[in-house]
Symmetry: D2
Subunit: 278 residues, 4 copies
Amino acid sequence: LTTHILLIDCADRKGLVHHITGVLLRHDANITSNHEFVDHAAAHFFMRTEFTGEVDRGRVLDELRELLPAQARARFGPAGKRRIVVLATREHHCLGELLLRHSFGELNATIEAVVSNHATLGPLVGRFGVPFHAIEAGELSRADHEQAVIEQIEAYQPEYVVLAKYMRVLTPAFVARYRDRIINIHHSFLPAFVGANPYRQAFERGVKIIGATAHYVTDELDEGPIIAQSIIPVDHTQSAAAMMQAGRDVEKTVLARALRLVFEERVFLNGNRTVIFE
Amino acid sequence: LTTHILLIDCADRKGLVHHITGVLLRHDANITSNHEFVDHAAAHFFMRTEFTGEVDRGRVLDELRELLPAQARARFGPAGKRRIVVLATREHHCLGELLLRHSFGELNATIEAVVSNHATLGPLVGRFGVPFHAIEAGELSRADHEQAVIEQIEAYQPEYVVLAKYMRVLTPAFVARYRDRIINIHHSFLPAFVGANPYRQAFERGVKIIGATAHYVTDELDEGPIIAQSIIPVDHTQSAAAMMQAGRDVEKTVLARALRLVFEERVFLNGNRTVIFE
Amino acid sequence: LTTHILLIDCADRKGLVHHITGVLLRHDANITSNHEFVDHAAAHFFMRTEFTGEVDRGRVLDELRELLPAQARARFGPAGKRRIVVLATREHHCLGELLLRHSFGELNATIEAVVSNHATLGPLVGRFGVPFHAIEAGELSRADHEQAVIEQIEAYQPEYVVLAKYMRVLTPAFVARYRDRIINIHHSFLPAFVGANPYRQAFERGVKIIGATAHYVTDELDEGPIIAQSIIPVDHTQSAAAMMQAGRDVEKTVLARALRLVFEERVFLNGNRTVIFE
Amino acid sequence: LTTHILLIDCADRKGLVHHITGVLLRHDANITSNHEFVDHAAAHFFMRTEFTGEVDRGRVLDELRELLPAQARARFGPAGKRRIVVLATREHHCLGELLLRHSFGELNATIEAVVSNHATLGPLVGRFGVPFHAIEAGELSRADHEQAVIEQIEAYQPEYVVLAKYMRVLTPAFVARYRDRIINIHHSFLPAFVGANPYRQAFERGVKIIGATAHYVTDELDEGPIIAQSIIPVDHTQSAAAMMQAGRDVEKTVLARALRLVFEERVFLNGNRTVIFE
C-alpha cells in the first residue's frame, strides 16, 4: 500500500475540502490523516492530506488544479528521505544530535555531507562515515568563501541546507538560491539581546529562561518564519558559560524537532509565519 | 452571521469528509475550521467543523444521517454557554479559579450553583453572587447524602457537573445519571501512589514532579478518559505541605484548561480515551 | 518558638560563613535553613538564614556589623505579612489572582488597597472587601495624575507597590520614591517586540511561545532586575486575541510566584540581577 | 589553585556550619560555593562545600571527624572524572547521548566500556572508540549470565554502573555489589502502568504526558531514590510507537542530567530520597 502526502495551499473559498476530497475519492484514495487551516485575515487555505492508494499522482494534480483557484500550490511530498547538507562551524551539539539520529534512520533525511568553515568537527563527522568538507575562510573574501561553500553544497544537490550553528552570515544570493530550503537554529532570550556575546548579556541581565528558535532563513537575519521554539530555566548560580551549555541542550532539541516537522511535510510557509500540522 | 459547531463520530469509511462537506456546501455553509481524526485501530472517524451560515440544523442532521454509517453520532454544539453545577468540599483553589473566570465570562459556562458537603467555601462563593448549598453528610447514609446532593443539582438542570476537589466517592448511580457529563481534577504522581495521603507518600518517595489530571468520571475511580494533564517541578526542600500547595497551582490550571476544551466542544470520547481538537 | 530570617549581603572575604554562624551560635540560635551565594565576578557575598530562637535582634545585628566588611547590609526580614498596594488598570487576570490568594492568606501580604486609573475593576475588588480607589487621568497632567496616585498610596504606607497590569508609565520620581519596592509583570516574547500592540506583532511574527516576566521596576522601563519568568506554547491556530489570553494565564502565575519569593524574603538585588534562594 | 568538593552528612545539631567552616578557615580554604540542607523530620544535616586552597585533605577530614557527631560521613569528591561502565541492550538513544557527551568531555566521566546482552549496539559504540562487550544470555542461566557481566564490568573497576536501557533484571547480589553506585533510567507515566508493554498501556489509556525518571537502583525494581524526572506532552494523534519515541527523547535528556548531578557530587542519598544541591 503506497502512502501519499498531498499538500495544498491556495486562496480560500467555499467548497474546497469537498472538491479536493472528491478528486481523491474518484481515485479510490483512502484518507488516513487530514488537516486543514484557514488564515481568515489573509483568506488563505492550507491542507495536508495523507492517504493510501495506487493513484496516478500527475492525474490527481491535474484534476485538482482544474478546480482550485488560480495560483494554488498543490504538490505531493517527495517519496523517500530528504537529501540534506549540514553547515556547521565549531560547536558540536546540534551536529552530533543530527548525526546520531541520522545514523539510526530517525531523521527522515540523508545527511549527504557536512560543510564547515573550520576543521574542528571533522573527527566527529568522520565517526559517522559522512563526508566532511572544511572550507576555511582564510584570505578569501566573504563572497569567494561563500562561493566555495556553495560549490561544495551543489555537489550534493540537496533539498535542504541545515545550519547547525554555522557562524557565518549568508549573503542574499545564498538565501535566494536556497529559498525556503534553509533552516537555522539560534539562541533566543527574554528579553532579546542585540550584538555580540548574547549569553554574556543574558547573564548580566539575570534572565531566568534561555530559549532556542528554529526558523527558515530569509534575508532578515534570524527573522525568518519560526518553526519551533523551546526554553530551559536558568538561575543566578549559572555562569554565562553554564547558560550557554544549557542553551545548547535546548538548541539541539529544538532543531531536531523542527527538522522532523519539515521533513515530514508538516510545515507550510504563510508569509512570515508558518502553519504546522502535527 | 451564525456560527455552528458540527460534531460527528462514526465508523470510518471512504469518502466521509467528501460527503459531509457536500451536505454543508449544499446548505451554503462557510467552513471556518475543520478537524478530522481517524482511530485506525478502532476504524472510527471523528470530525469537528465550525462553519457560518443560516442553515436549518435539523435538515442538515437529517441529510447527514442518511449518508453516514449506522450508529453514527452527529450533533450540533449547543448555542450559548454550558450550564454547570460545581461540587467542592473544603479546598478553594480550583473553585476560586472557576468563579473568577466565570465572573469575567471566560469559562464559556454559567456556574448555576456550587454544592458542597461542607460550609467552608460558602463565603468565597458568596463573593461572586453564585448560589451555594452546603449539604453536610452528618448522620446521613452515603446513599441518602448523595440523594440530597442530586436533588440540589437537579434543581439547576445542568449540562455538566464539575468536581472541583469534591472529596466524596460517587456511587455508580450518580455516575450513570450524569454519564459523560462529570469532569474531575485529581493530583497525579510519577510513580503513582495508592491509598491515603498521596502527597505524604510522594514526599517520602522524593518525587521531583507533581502532576494533575483532569478527566471524565466513570465507575473506575480516577480512571476515566483523560482530558488534560500537566506537571510542576518540586524538590527536596519542599515539605509534603509545600508539595500539596504546588499541586494545587497545577490542578487549578489543568481543570480550567480541560473545561475550556470541553465547553468549546473540542473533546470527543473514544472508548476510554479522548480525541481533542485544539 | 520564634522564627527569624536573617539577610546579609556584603563584599566577599574568607571566613564570612564561619563568623556569621558564630554570632548565631553564641545567641543559641538553631539554624533551620541556610543559603549562601558568592558572585565571584563582583566578589560579593549573599546569605539568607532562617533560624529559631529567642534572640535580641538588635544585638545580633550589632555583633554582625562588627565583623562584616564595611558597607555590609544585614537585616532581619520583618515579622508578619507585607503591606502592599496594588495598581491596576482594566485587565483583571493578575489582580483577581492576587485577591483570591490574599483572601485565603496565601500571599504573605496584606493588600491594603487597589488603586486604578479606571473604574472598571472596582466591582471585582469590592467582592473581596478591599478598598478601591479609581483615579482617572481625565484632564490631569501626567505629573498631577501621578501625584494623586502617590497620595492615595501614601495613605496606606505600603512596603511594596505591585503593578498588576498598570498601564501608565511611571516617572523617575515615582520609581525613586519606592526604590526596590515596585514589582511589575509584563509580557515577554521571543524575539522581543518594541512599540505598540506587541501581541499583534507576536501573532504576525508567528511565535510559538508567549512569555511573562516579573521584575523590579527601575528607571529603565521593563528593564529592572528579573525575579521570575515563564512561558506558554502557542501555535498558528491562535489569533492575536487568543495569544493575549494565553499570555494572561502565564502573567498571573509568574506574578504570584515572584511575589511569593519577594515576600518570603528570598530575593536579593545584585546590581541589575537578582539572587534567589528557593 | 586546587578546587575541592567536601561532602558531609550527619545527625543535625546546633553549630555544625560554624564548626565545619572553622576547620576550613584554619586550613586557609576559600569557600566558593556552599550548600546546606536539614531534613528536620529525620534531624539529618547535609552539606556540600566547594573551596579552593592547598589543604591536606586527610588532616581536614581528621579534624572534621573530631567535631562531627558519631556516624557522620565526611569525604572529598574524587579528583578527576568518574570511571563508569554503561550497560545497554538494544535501544541506542540513551547510549548515543552519553557517547556523544563523553566524546566532547561533557560528562565528567570516562566511559570505560559498554557491556550489552546483545550485539546490536556494537557498531555505535565502535564509532566512538569505546570498548564494547556483547555477552548474550543464550543458554546461560540468569545467575551465570549476570556473573559473566559482572566479570566484564570488574575488568574496568568502575565507580558507577549506568543502566542506559539495560533490559535485564538485576539480582540482589548485583545491586549489593554496586550499592548506591548504579543509576537507571526508566519511562514513567501518569498514571503508572504495571506489567508488559507500558507504552501500549499508556496509549490505550490516552495519557497526555509521557515521563522519565532517573534513579539509583535498589532491590525494589524501579523504586530507588529519584535523581531527576521530566515529561513531554503527547496527544491522541500519536501511536504507541510515537509515544515510545517521544519517551526516548525525554529519557536521554533526564539520564544525562542525572549523571551530571551525580558526577558533580551534587546528590546525597537520604533514605529512599535524594538531596540535590544544584
